[in-house]
Symmetry: C2
Subunit: 190 residues, 2 copies
């Protein structure tokens, strides 16, 4: 896959095969992609917690909010939940601010996940203090986001935006539709 | 190249072949990679200005700060300056905050640049009001960062961090060395 194909395939997935286990080795290899990516002033303030045990992921799950626009959907059924999480932390002893580091890291990890036949969702809507308590995360670290990972079982399609409506939606076949703004709208000047 | 090779090759480059022109078509294809990447709540608030004309890039250049740790280096010589810039804006009419969108977008663009034989640097240290005035950017848009692009003419090597010193440095052959924290340091728990 070239980078365009990889990016096209790297959609936000929210339904997974809950029987498909992701090894710690795979998670470490994904974090390694983030480690090798750019960091503001090379400070590298990001730290990671890897979760893939059935017991712990069951407890991480209720700390996350899912798909705000799908108001009648409360999140994946137990049979379709993520089978791993990468929790991304900002080490405040290294830096007060994390700039775009966690966005860069998230994209590197999600692209690596796609290449590995996985998929997932970058979740910023996290019950951070609940997660901190669950994982005993010291106050030295800000909880920045959670990357939910698994083997996707849903189809996601991109389409052109209509009437400036950015809300993604699901059709009767449970295909997930994501409207994207066209290039003409986002390039102001060239 | 697989994603790991692509990420390893996607270093921050600050010296370029100033004779190598980057077409507008190439810049548009890079923005398209950002367009197809994830966006928080799918709001897609990022907008872009593309600069590749010799006249305009000459004026954009002094709006940027280069390589804070190389205190005796004021930035690339005229013969080694970037030949294109992608200015990333946040449209405040769409969203008050831009979350990790611009980090994700930057990484997609920089990976695409590497695949296209280019390279560059994500620059957050920007004289934003000077750039706003130069490019007549309406107040509706926050200037988030500038991606400087070109055909790299420098060698950048990664190495293990020593004594927690994150400062990159150049050796006598002008090879740029970037210390990276090891996996054991950044994975707190697995």
């Amino acid at each position: 896959m070239n980078i365009r194909q990889l990016i096209e395939k790297t959609r936000s997935y929210r339904r997974f095969d809950s029987k498909f286990e992701i090894t710690t080795e795979t998670l470490v290899s994904l974090v390694d992609l983030a480690r090798l990516s750019a960091s503001g002033a090379n400070r590298q303030p990001l730290k990671y917690i890897l979760v893939n045990s059935p017991e712990l992921r069951k407890e991480v799950y209720p700390c996350l909010s899912w798909a705000g626009y799908l108001t009648t959907w409360e999140g994946p059924d137990p049979s379709e939940r993520p089978t791993a999480y990468i929790i991304v932390l900002g080490d405040k002893e290294i830096s007060d601010t994390f700039g775009v580091d966690h966005g860069i890291a998230a994209q590197s990890i999600m692209l690596g996940a796609t290449e590995a036949g996985l998929g997932g969702c970058i979740i910023a809507s996290v019950k951070k203090e609940k997660l901190r308590s669950l994982l005993e995360i010291p106050l030295q670290y800000d909880v920045l986001m959670v990357l939910a990972l698994g083997k996707p079982v849903e189809k996601v399609v991109l389409e052109n935006i209509q009437k400036n409506d950015v809300k993604y939606w699901r059709d009767e076949k449970q295909v997930h539709h994501v409207p994207k703004r066209p290039l003409e709208e986002i390039i102001l000047r060239s």
